[in-house]
């Protein structure tokens, strides 16, 4: 009698568990990692997607830099997708992952895509490692890589941890709903950035006092 009761209880437990637990299809649906989602972006960062999906690119960049695990980033340095390799190199530099220095130096020298070589050389600059790879990059066949190497070479000798500053800026996060909030005819949205001396600059502190011209620039534009 006791055995039957135990069996019935066990059966009831299994039955109850089946009711409570999600179906097996849901068990296998782990949330995709930020790098995986970046790989599958609907509008990857190419010329033709200039105006499309930029909010997704920004959001995922924040997620990757803030949360992607280092192991997945290191693996992504070998991804077949150049945009993924490029983003992984950038994130590993900002995250100051010194264990990636060899792999990044290899990318600087051998990656067929120059955008990857640029991000890899910038990452080495943040790490303050592999000066020989940065030196080689100054003679890269692409002007953009030479340019990046020339600029980041100065990071090697700097006492300031610029990667830490970038990490701190990303750590503040970003809300998707504020992206593109600036509209002509409306109050200029406030923002906080850094002066070259490392002090905080808040637009609202100068707003409404004088006319202001702001140019959001690229290095060569």
């Amino acid at each position: 009698m006791k055995t039957v009761t135990v069996r019935l209880r066990a059966l009831a437990f299994v039955w109850a568990s089946l009711l409570v637990l999600p179906p097996p299809t849901v068990w296998s649906q782990q949330p995709a990692s930020p790098m995986e989602r970046y790989r599958k972006l609907e509008f990857p960062p190419t010329e033709e997607n200039f105006d499309k999906g930029w909010q997704d690119r920004v959001t995922l960049e924040y997620e990757i830099i803030n949360f992607a695990d280092l192991a997945s980033l290191r693996i992504a340095l070998k991804d077949e997708n150049a945009f993924v390799r490029s983003m992984a190199a950038r994130a590993l530099g900002i995250r100051a992952d010194k264990d990636s220095a060899d792999a990044l130096a290899e990318l600087v020298q051998a990656d067929p895509e120059y955008m990857v070589r640029i991000r890899a050389v910038e990452a080495l600059g943040y790490l303050k490692m592999k000066p020989e790879a940065i030196e080689l990059a100054k003679k890269d066949r692409q002007l953009g890589v030479q340019w990046a190497a020339k600029i980041v070479a100065g990071l090697l000798t700097s006492d300031i941890d610029y990667a830490a500053e970038v990490r701190q800026a990303f750590a503040s996060g970003i809300k998707r709903e504020v992206m593109g909030a600036a509209k002509v005819g409306e109050r200029a949205p406030d923002f906080t950035v850094q002066t070259l001396e490392g002090k905080s600059f808040k637009l609202s502190e100068v707003l409404g006092k004088q006319p202001i011209a702001i140019y959001f620039a690229v290095f060569d534009g």
Binding site: G154, V166, E186, T192, Q194, A213, Y215, F216, V218
Partner: protein
């Protein structure tokens, strides 16, 4: 850099208007500093700016995570050197009341189109100063 170089030529006019000029770079502070203090781009060749040490008179600001740039809708919208991390170059003018009165994206359509771009910005600054 061309836009900033051209703006610097009009520095007196900007100052006469009592206006402030800022240039925001979605880059770390180190690279923003190089942008402000070194004439890497236009020092090449024999151009009119080739002998100048710095071409930027606007206050340079570093936006390393591109937060301000995203707020202003210009972030990660420009493929530069085959990559995506730069801003879409854009001018904004804000009037004395703090209202955004002008936004324009330079086309870089001709070697001298930035001259017109800056003239337009100055016109808008004049209106914003009223």
């Amino acid at each position: 850099m061309h836009q900033q170089a051209q703006l610097r030529l009009k520095k007196d006019e900007v100052e006469k208007l009592g206006a402030a000029a800022y240039v925001v770079l979605a880059m770390d502070r180190y690279r923003a500093k190089v942008f402000k203090e070194e004439n890497l781009l236009l020092s090449r060749g024999e151009g009119p700016f080739s002998k100048e040490k710095s071409l930027v008179f606007a206050t340079a600001l570093s936006d390393p995570a591109g937060h301000a740039s995203a707020l202003y809708g210009v972030s990660r919208r420009c493929v530069r050197w085959g990559s995506w991390v730069e801003n879409h170059p854009t001018w904004f003018v804000i009037d004395r009341r703090g209202i955004l009165s002008y936004a324009a994206q330079p086309t870089f359509a001709t070697p001298t189109s930035y001259v017109d771009d800056i003239d337009r910005v100055l016109d808008e600054l004049k209106k914003a100063a009223r």
